[in-house]
């Protein structure tokens, strides 16, 4: 795994944590929570490098 990939994964993990936090504690509308969930699916796959 290259250094660039590690940085990429670290960024993806941070964005994932941020989106999850927003979904759980900030967003009040169901539509916004669904939007967060859809972003989380892609982020998890990226973090595990599944394509």
């Amino acid at each position: 795994m290259t250094f660039t990939t590690i940085i990429y994964l670290a960024i993806a993990v941070m964005v994932f944590a941020s989106v999850l936090y927003n979904m759980l504690f900030k967003e009040t509308k169901v539509v916004d929570k669904i939007s967060c969930a859809m972003i989380l699916v892609c982020l998890i796959l990226r973090i595990f490098m599944i394509k």
Binding site: T4, K33, C36, A37, V41, I44, L45, I50, K51
Partner: protein, 379 residues
């Protein structure tokens, strides 16, 4: 958080997790699926790895098998590349059919059916194409093969630059073309994965002194270079005779010169950087064209698409779509017949037969088209 909010959040999160597991499993299985290429009972005398020609490929997905069919007598040699663009299944399947069916009397046939294994391991996003294609063989068993992407998997090679600069020409292309193997020749030993694969192929041809190379492709039926052979200028005489041989067998094929200023392609760079006669074959593939409708395994195998029937009526196609289909069996048959015809033309070009390549047991074009069942030509 209110109780109602907690419940809805939990439900949405649970659905997201289920979606992740379903999608992840699907992608993971695609990435890790190993095609079962049958060498038992075939004329394959040995297999070895592509990393023989570039050690940097060791341990990567691109370290694919090279299948070697050696004749009883020494002679010339040919390299057949399949799967360069993994969304062009006729090239991939024709290479497999040939390595499983051909016998070699004289010379050596090298076949690499999965030259872009990284591309085979995923699909193009948003194209809705199938992950796999299946064939039932004579004995009733079902064999599964990849349907992949034109480009290498971004897991193996990223990020794409804004502009891809081809080495050594300096030609600039769209950034995503950096993952297009057929824009990376002659390759770089320490470059991106695609460049490393291209380097290995170039090095293989130089090391083994391979006389002729044929790269098997497909293209959209609305694309002008179709049902065609693209030839490097040194290979033009052989290609012209091969095309005539095919015409004599009622197989119409255009002959296109390799553009001198379009770099990175096999028919240009392998001709320039090696002594091989470099050819590339194209055949129409409705499952990759932009006019296509619903895309599934049936479309890949039958080539039946009502949208292309309309396109044919409007005169927009470069293949004869009057039958309302363009099946994979026909497309593979064209590639197999093409390889046989160009080998014959190469033999005819020799002053003596010391470097001849004599192959046998070539599946008959007309029989393949008539039976329209590729499974019959797989072991």
């Amino acid at each position: 958080m209110k109780k109602k909010g907690i419940i809805s959040t939990c439900i949405i999160l649970a659905i997201a997790i289920v979606c992740t597991v379903i999608a992840g499993t699907s992608f993971y299985n695609k990435r890790n699926f190993k095609e079962d290429i049958v060498t038992e009972g075939s004329a394959v005398t040995r297999t070895y790895k592509l990393s023989t020609y570039n050690k940097n490929l060791k341990g990567t997905i691109a370290n694919v098998d090279i299948y070697v069919l050696e004749g009883k007598e020494p002679g010339g040699s040919i390299l057949i590349l399949g799967g360069t663009h993994a969304n062009e299944p006729a090239g991939h399947m024709a290479a497999i059919v040939m390595l499983e069916q051909l016998t070699v009397e004289k010379g050596t046939v090298y076949v690499i059916p999965q030259i872009n294994m990284s591309g085979l391991s995923h699909n193009d996003p948003l194209e809705g194409q199938p992950q796999f294609i299946h064939f039932t063989t004579k004995d009733g068993s079902v064999r599964t093969f990849h349907f992949g992407s034109r480009a290498a998997n971004p897991i193996d090679q990223w990020p794409d630059p804004d502009i891809y600069t081809h080495k050594p020409s300096g030609q600039g292309l769209s950034g995503s073309e950096t993952r297009n193997l057929n824009r990376c020749y002659p390759g770089q030993k320490y470059g991106t994965l695609s460049e490393q694969v291209a380097y290995a192929v170039t090095n293989m041809i130089n090391t083994e002194k391979i006389d002729m190379e044929i790269d098997l492709h497909e293209s959209s039926p609305e694309y002008a270079v179709n049902n065609a052979c693209v030839a490097h200028e040194r290979a033009m005489a052989i290609a012209a005779e091969g095309v005539l041989n095919l015409e004599m067998d009622d197989i119409s094929m255009r002959l296109e010169p390799s553009p001198v200023t379009l770099h990175g392609l096999t028919h240009r760079e392998l001709g320039d950087f090696t002594d091989t006669y470099a050819l590339l074959l194209e055949v129409g593939n409705p499952s990759q064209g932009r006019f296509r409708g619903y895309t599934d395994e049936k479309l890949v195998i039958t080539g039946e698409d009502p949208c292309y029937v309309i396109a044919q009526k409007l005169g927009l196609l470069y293949v004869d779509y009057s039958a309302g289909n363009f099946p994979l069996s026909l497309r593979v048959a064209r590639h197999v017949a093409g390889c046989a015809a160009f080998i014959q033309a190469y033999n005819d070009s020799l002053d003596d037969d010391a470097r001849a390549i004599i192959i046998d047991n070539v599946p008959d074009y007309h029989e393949m088209v008539e039976t329209d069942d590729l499974g019959l030509y797989l072991r």
